[in-house]
Amino acid sequence: MKRTIRKVLIANRGEIALRIIRTCREMGVGTVAVFSDIDREAMYVRYADEACHVGPPQASESYLDQRKILDAAKRSGADAIHPGYGFLSENAAFASLVESEGIAFIGPGAESMKLLGHKTSARRLAESLGIPTVPGTIEPLKDVNEAEHYASKVGYPVLLKAAGGGGGKGMRVVRSAGEMASSFGMARSEATSAFGDPNIFLEKYVERPRHIEVQVLCDTHGNAVHLGERECSVQRRHQKIIEESPSVAVSEKLRAQLVEAALQLVHAGNYVNAGTIEFILDAAGNFYFLEMNTRLQVEHPVTEMRTGIDLVREQIRIAEGRPLSFKQADIHFRGAALECRIYAEDSFNSFLPSTGEIVRLHAPAGFGVREDRGVEEGSIISPYYDPLLAKLVTWGATREECLARMARALSEYELFGVRNNLDLCHWIVTNPLFARGDFSTGFLAENFNPEKLLTTREHLRKVAALSAVMEARKNHQFNLSIIPDQPKSRWRQENSESMR
């Protein structure tokens, strides 16, 4: 079916909503933002042509409320909905509800979303195609006894995963039988609260794995292309921090195998639109199909920087029923790209999320630097949503150049008022092991020592100590000594002026 999309409602918030609005504007397509009470002043709301209020801050009563989102689309006359990532993006019921109202869902059809987006059925399909998968359970686990039974069969350590999940939620590594009962309970309750689906399954935990994924685009005419791989091995709490393309761990031969497996899977599942097929790579170089993300990925800019293809633009064109405007041979991969996810979290305290007001934000710029960000100076970071603040992406003719550019860009970045991981990102991209490509998903756990990082900042520590004294002397609690008047010039002053 061919249709023309004139106005898109973006059923999301933050940086991804803004990113989608930007492409729509370039295509001459109107945009409608949706916002909860606390996002009223958000950047993406101001950038959109129109905006609809959809409820209180709790996602379940706003961004996850299918009826409210649909009503907003009808009210504003939107003829398409882009779900972004997270929220309703992988909800097959929502996709069919939207289509049943005559509104285009910019993503796959509900059927292939169910088949490929659900871990259990996707795994079954992969196995039937001869694509390797990690040994584990095909059916959801009934209870903890069954979990213990299968764990002893495949051997510890094992991984418990939520059937409906992603992003590290509802996921636990269990190293021994003694940990099973409590881990199973927590994984199940997290899965229920995050996805409304308590189903958990179990698989052998591959030690020192690398995480490699393949980006695909499929149209409604049976054409499918791949846009190369991304490596997302640097993670914390099972969530990605750094993504790059190409992967240093992928040879030409392995790449050919990975993209073939990915394309086989999407053809078999009649998949349409943008999607990502995730694999893990063990230390011996064997790959296993992990899962498919039936939506736009957070890290899609990495691929855009290398291929020059705007994935959101292609998504919209595909949703209009147009055939892909290029063939596999037309896609050229140039240089290397890397993304740092800038999170509101404390790298020095177990990566706990942090909140507060951004009192200063100075973002980097320059050649080969892209930043997708949904917050600005004055934004309040609340505990209601994902802690992702921004995505900083750099491109370089070589990986070395790309890393040097990222280190430079990060050193320009200043973000005060909300604890964040800029420091950690800088540490990673300047780490010799990372530069050599010698890492796995255990990279941070094995190598990152916050204590060590903190003690190396002698100059900054001194400035901080002096600043604190200056601030303290402003207070009456401290005896102020009398300091003679000094000339009032602002920069070339004597010590005393500044200590007033």
């Binding site: 939620k169 927590m186 309750s189 997290e190 609260s193 709490r237 706990l352 999320p353 942090s354 909140t355 009192v359 200063r360 100075h362 505990p383 209601y384 949503y385 994902d386 802690p387 970045y413 200043e414 005060f416 008022g417 604890r419 964040n420 800029l422 420091d423 800088h426 903190l454 003690t455 900042r457 100059h459 900054l460 520590r461 400035v463 901080a464 100590a465 002096l466 600043s467 604190a468 004294v469 200056m470 601030e471 303290a472 002397r473 609690q477 401290f478 005896n479 000594s481 009398i482 300091i483 003679p484 000094q486 602002r490 920069w491 002053q493 010590n495 005393s496 002026e497 500044s498 200590m499």
Partner: protein, 167 residues
């Protein structure tokens, strides 16, 4: 002359401000100037300039944001140091640990009751924040003397949750 002791948890600095304005850090003279702009400050130390943001957390506790670092600093002048020396020598030291919420969130479960003996590392509270469940464990062994929250409570960052007295 004023003398300050500044500690950032790892290191202690002695900062001296002379009446003439001369400034020393650990006995070494430094050249420092600053300009305020709104809530931020531009600081030039020995020719290297940085933007800092200072938040006063408590009377003598300051949080300083600079580059990608956040330092928690305790600033003590002569009087404060004397007071703290006095309180230590008067034996007013209790091994009481107050467990505070590390982030805003929802209390999913409270696993300790008042009067209960708890081992170091024992489960205290399950806190949900940003869709993740976070378990808070006892930092010391002892007796739970206070439980300030119950299941279903929404807590702010740094809110007191539980107090443990070592035995």
């Amino acid at each position: 002359m004023e003398r300050f002791e500044v500690t950032d948890g790892k290191k202690k600095y002695e900062i001296v401000v002379h009446d003439g304005g001369k400034l020393l850090i650990d006995g070494t003279p430094v050249h420092l100037s600053s300009v305020s702009s709104g809530r931020l400050m531009r600081i030039d130390l020995d020719g290297r300039s940085s933007t800092v943001y200072i938040q006063r957390r408590e009377e003598n506790i300051f949080q300083v944001w600079i580059k990608h670092s956040v330092f928690e600093l305790k600033v003590e002048d002569e009087r404060a140091r004397l007071l703290s020396a006095w309180s230590k020598s008067s034996g007013a030291v209790h091994d009481v640990v107050t467990v505070r919420a590390p982030m805003p969130g929802l209390v999913l479960g409270v696993h300790a009751t008042e009067g209960q003996k708890i081992a170091s590392g024992g489960k205290l509270i399950t806190l949900e924040a940003m869709k993740m469940e976070n378990e808070l464990h006892a930092p010391i062994a002892g007796e739970v003397t206070l439980v300030k929250v119950k299941k279903g409570d929404v807590v702010e960052k740094d809110q007191i949750l539980i107090r443990i007295q070592s035995v």
